[in-house]
Amino acid sequence: MARWGMVIDLDRCTGCAACEVACKSENNVAAVSADQADMGRASSWMKVMAHVEGEFPDTTMHFYPRPCMHCDNPPCIRVCPVQATYIDDEGIVGQIYARCIGCRYCANACPYMVKYFNWYGPEWSESERQHLNPDVSVRPTGVIEKCTFCHHRLQKAREDARADGRELREEDYQPACADVCPTNAIAFGDLDNPSHAVHSLKADPRVLRLMEDLGTQPKVYYLRPRE
């Protein structure tokens, strides 16, 4: 059984945010208007966070692309009263929109703030509907949505591999963010499979996980910058 995870090299990330836009394009994440954005209602399943330290001229800045951490011990699923958010056998934390009642307990429980509430139905103009990805449903008003590690790509890759009568390969299943990254900062694969890059990368001495002390056991690893 695979255990999907991600390793992000902070030395390679230049904060260009291609991952952020690719995620929105892949997963049909609608933009909100400027005044709604001011109220914090913009959704960004993948968000590039900047971490700045020091004073000019001794400043340093690193970028942390922040998807859902797909914790092995996710706080969000413990608080969901209707089991709308769940962790599957391969470690992907998902959200069942039809089951979600919009209580937002999970959004509050998540220490990484990766869960977004749909205050409205998605606003797509007639012309914009044409670029929607048919593999991903758009979410209705009043439910929580989140990064799925582009789970629809896994399903598709599996079907393709089965049709070809072969095992699933590492390159068959890559989420949109890892796919687009121009500096290859994002590696993705099966953490337990020694032939996948993430398997050895997660053993790197530079490895770091966000807020690990909370016991969430995130499956998104960061390689901290070399000094």
């Binding site: 904060g15 260009c16 913009a42 400043t59 048919p134 500096t183």
Partner: protein
């Protein structure tokens, strides 16, 4: 009617299901109803093309479902971008399906700028334009036609130029981003083109104010080099960013060297000092290929100091340190690294050249490449050959055309070594009624939003009786048009995507229609050809092509015939081809042109990864055949102008201080997502414009914490940025990476209501008299609470 492919597949599927279930009694999906659930699996397709949004022109691969473009991915075969893409490229789907796209050709119905339009057929619109242009020609005033072009590359540029030329107008006005490096190369090498940098093979890249990871010629080229493994022996280059602003590039480079505004070139000469003092420079290269290094006697018989004496006398590390603010030890270590980690290359950016003596500063920065011999060598500055596409037909000129093109272009002259801002000079000449323009064509230009002086443009437009815009959107300048013939978007049209200047190997990317073109819009290339046909005579003879697509195919015959290069291919194929060509071999992969063209279209373009490092013609084309550190043309021009400027001495921006009223230095910069101010904003990009996760949609300015504290402002205060030239509204962001007493202002943003928020409109208007390029960091502003 034959069934569509989807219908066909559905029929197949239904047949298969029937066969499989033969004999089953209750086949519940036998009824038609069960098929009619409103959802059908789409037919998926992937097609390669080229991104035409910025000058990088990366390879893209569109994912199409039922003919709709749902995703734009990178094309892994493209040698420059290698499958990577920037956020602007990804967000292209939102541009294609933008709700504000114009539906079709329109004629102005009410007063100019009144917003009343009449929708017409494209034949009607084009005959309107053709009639008007025909009248100008018939009246013998072809020179009163002008084109303002914001996209200046490839075949579309060539046919625009050919059209104007054969029409009889010298007024092709480029409204584009200049950085002055072409003037530096023309002076020192006699090669009038921007330098290319072999980042892939460099081991150390010293960037002097070039926003390499943001809005450089090709951020993807820098990304690909940056992404090479960093800790192995054969690693990618180490990036050192020398910058006044702690930019995103500065923060992610391996090393950031902060310098005072306008002193980049002083640091470069400080590095040169150490290289000469410690004899670390490439003396053999300098002796064989460089002039002006030692003292010399000029053409007038005057003894002059050479580069060595000037640098040794004026740029002792202590003095350089005092001017730039960089510690002596750091200067020495930079110089030693530049000499030790070979190949190394210095990249000159707009922070250097957008200054009152930017050209001299650019010369100083490039001089350290010359000292180290990093020219025409792997990992250095290269001058690639042009892509060998077929030239256009020879233009045919009649009497009218000859008389017209013989006239002085409007707003010409400008500066000695570069064209500066020809668009603004054009507008000034028109607004000042010095030159009559009776018809103006706008091609991807929106000067009212992007120009530093929109008022001049408004005045100029009022004086032009006939304005045609080809913009797909009703942008600020298009609102003043009389006729709008909206172009197709890049994902709907054929277009070639030539190499960005910074990339050292010829690439001829090919954009092809990924989706059915929108009804009503028309490829501007085809419009130009149609205009030429309806004008007839010599104009039609000069552009004897039926369609733009056909023209591109015709030009590709040059690539097929040249017997080098390859259609785009993966890493292995590229290396294989290069190694073969290095040994003088080339194997044809196609016996005929047609299969070659089909493969070129399928893969997304053509490239030649071979560079002849032994060709002296790529080192210097000066009269002496040497690289001139002391270019005679420069001294002559300075003497002619009576200028007191001295090369290698006056390289720093004169240190101006803010006044009591305007005490903060304004530092405008481009953000990567919106490198130009001309495009309609895609909503996804508006949601992540910069490094501040909480600034969505709004223009902002950055100030240092202590500056904000002194002014009594906190984070997110809404402020007016005020200079003597104007003001605009922005949100204040406190950023510890900003130097005290400066205001860093991103360029290209808009207010949520669509109004431009352009810091360039606050600039003091000073520029470099040698290049005409504006000075970006010599303006002082104050901040006022809104």
């Amino acid at each position: 009617m034959s069934p569509s492919r989807r219908e066909f597949l559905w029929t197949m599927g239904a047949a298969a299901a029937t066969v499989a279930l033969k004999g089953a009694q209750d086949v519940f999906w036998e009824s038609d109803e069960s098929l009619d659930v409103g959802w059908v699996p789409g037919i998926e397709e992937r097609r390669n093309s080229a991104c035409l949004i910025c000058p990088s022109r990366c390879g893209i691969s569109g994912r199409l479902v039922d003919g709709r473009l749902v995703r734009i991915n990178g094309n892994p075969l493209h040698p420059l971008s290698r499958g990577g893409l920037c956020p602007r490229g990804v967000a292209g789907v939102q541009m294609l399906y933008h709700p504000e796209r114009l539906a079709g050709p329109m004629l102005r119905a009410g007063p100019r700028g009144g917003g009343q339009w009449e929708t017409v057929t494209r034949e009607h619109a084009i005959s309107r334009v053709a009639d008007r242009l025909g009248e100008l020609r018939a009246a013998g005033r072809p020179e009163t036609l002008a084109l303002l072009a914001g996209y200046n590359a490839g075949t579309i540029q060539d046919i625009w130029r050919q059209f104007l030329h054969s029409f009889g107008s010298p007024n092709y006005v480029a409204d584009e981003y200049e950085d002055g490096t072409d003037a530096v190369m023309a002076l020192m090498h006699g090669i009038d083109r921007r330098p290319s940098y072999d980042l892939d093979r460099a081991r150390l890249v010293l960037s002097f104010g070039a926003p390499m990871f943001e809005s450089w010629w090709s951020p993807l080229q820098a990304f690909v080099a940056f992404a090479s493994p960093g800790d192995e022996a054969e690693s990618g280059p180490r990036f050192v960013q020398i910058d006044t602003r702690f930019s995103r590039t500065a923060s992610r480079a391996h090393e950031w060297v902060g310098v005072r505004p306008g002193t980049h070139a002083v640091l470069a000469l400080g590095i040169a000092y150490v290289l000469i003092r410690d004899e670390l420079f490439d003396a053999d290269f300098v002796a064989r290929h460089v002039s002006g290094f030692e003292d010399f006697v000029d053409a007038q018989g005057q003894p002059r100091e050479g580069y060595r004496s000037l640098v040794m006398r004026n740029y002792r590390t202590e003095e350089v340190s005092a001017i730039t603010g960089v510690p002596v030890a750091r200067i020495t270590s930079l110089a030693r690294a530049f000499a030790a980690v070979r190949p190394s290359v210095a990249v000159c950016g707009t922070d250097v050249t957008f200054a009152p003596n930017g050209l001299l500063a650019g010369l100083a920065v490039h001089s350290i490449n010359v000292l180290m011999g990093s020219i025409n060598r792997p990992g250095g500055v290269l001058f690639p050959e042009d892509t060998p596409i077929r030239p256009l037909a020879t233009p045919v000129l009649d009497e009218t055309a000859r008389a017209g093109v013989g006239r002085e272009p409007i707003g010409a002259g400008g500066s000695t070594f570069a064209s500066g801002d020809p668009a603004l000079r054009f507008a000034e000449a028109v607004a000042g009624a010095q030159a009559p323009v009776e018809a103006l064509l706008l091609y991807y230009a929106n000067p009212i939003a992007s120009s530093a002086q929109p008022e001049v443009w408004r005045e100029a437009l009022e004086k032009i009786p006939f304005v045609v815009s080809f913009s797909p959107f009703l942008d600020e300048t298009t609102r003043y048009a009389d006729v709008i013939l909206p172009d197709l978007l890049p994902y709907e049209r054929w277009q070639d995507a030539p190499t960005p200047f910074s990339y050292p190997y010829p690439v001829w990317g090919l954009a092809q229609p990924l989706v059915e073109p929108r009804q009503g819009a028309w490829h501007t290339g085809d419009v130009v050809l149609a205009l030429a046909q309806s004008l007839g005579g010599n104009v039609a003879e000069s552009l004897p092509y039926e369609s733009f697509e056909g023209l591109l195919k015709e030009r590709a015959r040059g690539l097929f015939a040249v017997r080098r290069g390859m259609t785009l291919g993966g890493e292995f194929e590229r290396t294989h081809h290069r190694q073969m060509e290095e040994r003088g071999w080339w194997l044809p992969e196609h016996a005929e042109f047609e299969p070659f063209w089909e493969e070129l279209v399928e893969r997304g373009g053509w490239t030649d990864q071979f560079y002849d490092h032994t060709d002296p013609y790529r080192l210097a084309r000066t009269d002496s055949g040497r690289i001139e550190l002391m270019p005679a043309a420069l001294f002559n021009a300075l003497a002619e102008q009576g200028s007191a400027l001295r090369p290698y001495l006056d390289v720093a921006t004169p240190t101006a201080e803010g006044s009591r009223e305007f005490g903060l230095r304004l530092i405008p910069y481009r953000v990567s997502t919106l490198a130009s101010g001309t495009l309609s904003l895609e909503r996804w990009l508006a949601e992540q414009p910069g490094i501040f996760p909480d600034v969505l949609w709004h223009p902002w300015v950055e100030v240092a914490p202590e500056t904000a504290h002194t002014l009594g402002f906190s984070d997110d205060t809404l402020v007016w940025v005020v200079s003597p030239q104007g003001r605009y509204r922005a949100r204040l962001k406190v950023f510890p990476g900003t130097a005290p007493e400066t205001v860093c202002a991103p360029y290209g943003l808009r207010q949520p209501d669509g109004q431009p928020a352009n810091p360039l409109q606050l600039l003091d208007g000073s520029n470099d008299p040698l290049t005409g390029l504006p000075s970006w960091s010599s303006t002082f502003v104050r901040l006022e609470r809104v």
